[in-house]
Symmetry: C2
């Protein structure tokens, strides 16, 4: 910061016609823009696993609950598996109580041609009868060696907040593993990801089950 | 934008002592700050899986190669598994040729008390003899029910670029699955994550193997 002030003073000395008032106005403009930007977009590091006192990081479960609780109209959750994580299920219940439309995309259970045993979709359906559940099946016939899996993990609220992470909706991911993620508030990214998910629905790449 | 201009004009009309020159200087300050910010931090959405023509997204493998190729001094890669992905291994080879220090944190293979069968560490070690490989073992004795896994997936270059994703270093993650990630350039986040990883090393939570 000192370096920036020195550079400002040096530049000012060269520009003889610039008055103190001019500089004051340009600094106020810069500062107003900075606080507008801060409001517009922020990125936070999110982590599960051993912490060090050296670098504070926000916890996965806390951030996921924040995203769910912030939703006013729409929530889109993509996760590989969804075992019972009570705090998340409670947050989802509060969201349905607020009339938030919840869309979830899970990997199909192995009985339905997917790659995991635990039938996440039906487990969640028992808990939340008002959730729209999607699955990715189209194009899976193309390769006989390996079927693509829904391995993305993200939570989106109203195209305003996007949480993108390595963490599944499991107790281990919330409490025991090392997991890394990013919470993006505002800016273009959350709405782009929301648009992308909506485009996957409108092009029938993912379909309601 | 028109709305913002209207609001500016309205506010100006109320502030009688503000000259056109004052407004010009404040706008130049705001604009200089905006371009400084744009240079400072950017976030991009990264995706593997079916794309729609509606929302362009960057591809996982391409971004991971970009991060590796951008590294000048240090590269930190965290991944659950590391099967052969030729483009990534080639990029890592180029990085070692440039004398970039590469640190990798993998989940231990099951033979070493970890949760996966494929011995990623020794497979990569054969390819890249100069890589520092870390493992997370401390504290794993505490729970007998479930051992925490290194499930985070990220790539960090020089504390400047951070790629945080759901994608492992596998062919499926690069080509077939649905995977979501974020590439962060500049700003605080890449250096914070780098500091966090270094803190995990200095506190011996992860150790060189």
């Amino acid at each position: 910061d000192k370096d920036m002030i020195d550079r400002l003073l040096q530049a000012w000395r060269k520009a003889k016609d610039v008055t103190p008032r001019d500089v004051a106005f340009s600094l106020r403009g810069a500062s107003a823009n900075a606080s507008l930007r801060d409001k517009k977009e922020s990125i936070e590091l999110v982590w599960t696993g051993p912490s060090t006192s050296l670098v504070p990081v926000r916890h996965t479960e806390q951030v996921l609950c924040e995203v769910i609780d912030s939703a006013k109209q729409q929530l889109f959750i993509v996760s590989f598996v969804a075992y019972q994580v009570d705090s998340i299920i409670s947050a989802l219940r509060r969201a349905t109580d607020r009339k938030v439309q919840i869309e979830v995309l899970f990997e199909n259970s192995s009985e339905h041609g997917g790659r995991i045993n635990h039938d996440s979709a039906s487990a969640l359906r028992q808990l939340l009868s008002k959730v729209n559940i999607y699955s990715w099946s189209s194009g899976k016939q193309s390769s006989k060696d390996y079927l693509g899996a829904v391995h993305a993990k993200c939570a989106l609220a109203d195209g305003e907040l996007a949480f993108i992470t390595s963490a599944n909706l499991t107790k281990a991911a919330m409490e025991i593993n090392m997991e890394a993620g990013v919470l993006v508030k505002g800016g273009d990214l959350p709405s782009r990801l929301q648009d992308h998910m909506n485009a996957l629905i409108s092009t029938k790449i993912i379909e309601k089950i």
